[in-house]
C-alpha cells in the first residue's frame, strides 16, 4: 500500500459536481499535441503490463495540491499521477525526470 492523500479533504478538487459557479464552461475541442498522445500511450502500456490501474491513476490525480490541479490540463494531471505512482513503486527516483530534462 502506498501513500494516501497528503491531506484530509472535505471535498477534493476533482469532486466538483454541484459547486456553484457562473463561470462559462469551456467546450472548445482542441487537437491533441504529440506529448498528450504519448502520455495516453504510456498510461495504457503501464495498465496493460499491470504496473498501475485506473484507480491508482485517479487517486494520484486527486492527491494533487489544489493550485497545481487547477492550473494543470487534462494530460498534465495524467503525467503528475503517473510520475507519482512510478515514484511510489520505486520505478522512478524522485526528481529523475526533471534531472534527465535539465540542460
Amino acid at each position: 500500500m502506498s501513500t494516501r492523500y497528503d491531506r484530509v479533504m472535505e471535498r477534493a478538487a476533482h469532486d466538483r459536481g454541484g459547486w456553484p459557479t457562473d463561470a462559462r464552461i469551456e467546450r472548445t475541442e482542441h487537437d491533441l499535441a504529440d506529448w498528450e498522445m504519448l502520455m495516453d500511450a504510456i498510461e495504457n502500456a503501464l495498465e496493460a503490463r499491470g504496473v498501475m490501474n485506473t484507480d491508482q491513476m485517479r487517486r494520484g490525480i486527486e492527491s494533487m495540491p489544489l493550485d497545481e490541479y487547477e492550473r494543470a490540463s487534462y494530460y498534465e494531471r495524467w503525467l503528475f499521477s503517473t510520475e507519482t505512482n512510478l515514484i511510489e513503486q520505486g520505478i522512478l527516483a524522485p526528481g529523475e525526470i526533471d534531472q534527465r530534462l535539465a540542460p
Binding site: S2, R4, Y5, E10, D55, Q56, R58, R59
Partner: protein
Amino acid sequence: MSLAPGTTVRVSTRPHEGHHRTPGYLKGRQGRVERVHGRYRDPETRAYGGDGLPERELYLVSFDLPSGDRVLADVFEHWLEAAE
C-alpha cells in the same frame, strides 16, 4: 445483501480519507435504486495497489435534486444506507 430496484436509499455522509467514487454532492441525499449493475472490485483499495477484493455491489441510483434536475449515478452498496 442486495438491494432491489425501487428501494429507497440514502447516501452515507461518513467521513472518508482517501480515494472513493461517491460524489460529494450526493452525500446525504435520498435516492432510488434503478438497476443492479453487479459486483465489481473495490476502487478504494485498488487505488492503493490492493486487489480490490471482496467485490462490492454497484447500483444505478436516481436522485431528484432541489434544482429540479434528476441525476443518475453509480454508487457502491457500502455507501448506501436504509432511508426512512
